[in-house]
């Protein structure tokens, strides 16, 4: 038998999966070497959504970078906003008022909820559970309504400003959040019943894409994918920023680091994020939301039209950009996919000298071959969905 097999002319099938393939979302290419359905080798080819974010930042003022960050992880833009603003504030050395910090927490958690909804929905869709997809898209729609009410756009939020926020919470936000979360929890329960205990789903995701904790750290995993390995690393707990240390929430962890754990961790994080939003809304202090530093924060319209100093400062900060002191800083927030870090270098001018982003999903995407090698083609689907590679963030 073995001799016959040797004589047979057989070769591996080399096939391009993507960039225009349903599972790769148009932003990545896998070069697969297949033996039948088994993956022998896999090369990941990223960069299809490269827009030169970091270079663009160097050409804009510090303020102008903010709308660009919306396009990093376009599923949870508010977290990017917060992350960038915190990095610049760290560079300047200012702390925003309490109310601002609470609202930033609310915004980040809403964005995280919508990101996890999208992720689980998309995985459901690609595993064939179209109904679960639409239930979560419906829930995301409701969360996006909240975000739209808050900042005026659903995806391109551009809400956070260096040293403050664009605007305060709108009236009736708390009541609407309560309604939305009520419906979201119903839909969450529906999806939970449809997927979590369904053996077809479990068979697809369990023991697929396993990443041992040691390897996960070595590859630079963060966020839900690392927590799925059983390591409770969460920037919100270990390096608390904003007012996360005053919030009561738990860090969900998995055990084996397979796709089922990633799914379960995300499902639980949705609940925890809802808890955080509710707590923050309850505790929300009153007060200003911006720092009173005309050199860093734009002035109110009233001041601009009434006070000549404000007008002059305003012209100066807008045309020249705010001028953080020279230096470098790294600041990380817990993005929906993991640690989203901004490394900024300032030379004291109005433009960033360097703006480097640590995208959480870049290491995850890099580890794709390790996770799926030896598996089937069909295993790429849940694994790639569960690492939640967002092209805008990974390719920048």
């Amino acid at each position: 038998m073995s001799d016959t097999a040797k004589d047979l002319h057989s070769e591996y099938m080399v096939i391009n999966m993507g960039p225009s393939h349903p599972v790769t979302h148009g932003t990545v290419k896998f070069l697969l070497t297949l033996e039948g359905e088994t993956i022998i080798d896999m090369k990941v080819d990223i960069g299809y959504l490269h827009r030169g974010f970091e270079k663009m930042c160097e050409n804009g003022t510090w303020e102008q970078v903010m709308p660009y960050t919306d396009r990093l992880n376009y599923v949870s833009p508010l977290i990017n906003n917060v992350g960038y603003a915190l990095a610049v504030e760290k560079l300047i050395g200012i702390e925003t008022p309490q109310r601002c910090q609470y609202i930033r927490v609310i915004a980040s958690e809403l964005a995280r909820i919508s990101d996890h909804y999208t992720n689980i929905a998309a995985s459901g869709l690609e595993l064939g559970a179209f109904t679960a997809f639409l239930y979560f898209v419906e829930a995301r729609e409701l969360v996006w309504d909240l975000i739209e009410m808050l900042c005026g756009a659903r995806v391109t939020a551009n809400y956070v400003r260096i040293g403050g926020l664009k605007n305060d919470l709108p009236d009736g936000f708390k009541a609407k959040t309560r309604d939305v979360f009520k419906r979201c929890r119903e839909l969450w329960a529906d999806v939970d019943h449809l997927l979590t205990k369904n053996r077809i789903f479990i068979d697809r995701v369990r023991n697929v894409g396993i990443m041992p904790p040691k390897d996960a750290i070595a590859w630079g995993f963060t966020g839900p994918c690392l927590r799925a390995c059983g390591i409770p690393y969460d920037v919100r707990k270990f390096h608390p920023y904003l007012v996360y240390d005053q919030m009561d929430f738990e860090v969900p962890v998995g055990e084996k680091g397979d796709n089922f754990d990633r799914y379960a961790v995300r499902m639980e994080e949705i609940n925890q994020s809802m808890r955080i939003v509710e707590q923050a809304l309850d505790k929300l202090p009153s007060g200003p939301i911006n720092v009173d530093m005309p050199e860093y924060r734009w002035q109110s319209k009233e001041d601009i039209s009434n006070r000549i100093e404000s007008l002059i400062f305003h012209f100066k900060t807008v045309t020249e950009g705010i001028k953080p002191p020279a230096g470098e800083v790294y600041s990380a927030v817990e993005g929906a996919n993991g640690e989203l870090g901004f490394y900024l270098v300032s030379d004291g001018s109005g433009k960033p000298y360097k703006c480097r982003v640590r995208p959480p999903c870049f290491p995850l995407t890099a580890a794709m071959p390790k996770m799926v090698k030896g598996g089937f083609i069909a295993d790429i689907v849940p694994t790639f969905d569960m690492i939640n590679m967002i092209g805008g963030e990974c390719d920048r």
Binding site: A129, D203, I377, D379, V381
Partner: protein, 357 residues
Amino acid sequence: MVADLIESVVKILFIFSVNIGFFSPILGWVERKQSALMQDRVGANRADVFGFTLIGLFHPIADAIKVLTKEDFVPEGADRLFHTLAPFISLTPAIIAFAVIPFGGQYVLFGHHVNLIIADLDVGILFIFAFASLASFGAVLGGWASNNNWSFLGGLRASAQMLSYEVVMGLNIIGVIMVYGTLRLSEIGAMQVNFFHWGIFLQPVGFILFFTCAIAENKRAPFDVAEAESELVAGYFTEYSGMKFVMFWMGEFLEIVTIAGLITTLFFGAWHLPFVSDRMLVDFFGFAGPDGANILAILVNIATFFAKVLFFIWLQMTIRWTLPRFRYDQVMRLGWKMFLPIALINIFITGLVLLVK
């Protein structure tokens, strides 16, 4: 002789128009609307004629116009003959299989003996299986002839899956055949007059297995690994467009109807209402004269049958839009390691019970 001919033609026209003219276009609409309602959406409703949308019922017409005017594309390097032949091979068995499914009992109409089945073969079940296995050629040829790696993988998956599930399906049917002692579908139907002799009560395990295998045989979710759009783009019909593409879909939709018809016949009392025999129907309608009573009874038969068929179509659609997809190896494992032993045990137990009786 002439009467026989007329009878046959009427029956064929009836089934043909019901299947091709009604079910195959309407199922596209049903699938859209039902999935929409299950998913809190509205569904396609924008095709309109002079502003009347008719809850989206114009969409099948719009679809038909669209596919008929689309370019018929054959990829470079494809085998033109087989590429063209594959959709026909997929579609034909689905239409033919309905010939042996009875949709009513036997009546005397105007002194002529009428049997509400197009072809009352004494090997009815085998006929269906023979043609169902032909359908797998469509998938294999389509996948192979397209000269596309994804199609190729899809074709491989389709052939393996369809062949495996045919085995299990055949074994399931053996239980039914043992219980009723015949291969003739009209006889199986006639034996289910007694409500407690319906297949579902005599062969409950057989019903579940048969239903599952039938869905797998039809390659619908959760068994749609052969076309798994997130893995293989569209599986074996990746390279098809226009009318050829639609023929694959029509084949799939018609097979849904066939499966529903077959399950109704084998397990759900065929054309019988519970506790009501054909004799009782005719007696009930006695006020309309002998022929009138028969015609009314026939109509009730047909209505009952198609009501049951519609229910099973609904059930298949609900399953399709509820469950995630299996992985390819899990489908095979399920078929060979789970269904096959259960089917064999089922046969064994059925035989034991029959023997004891």
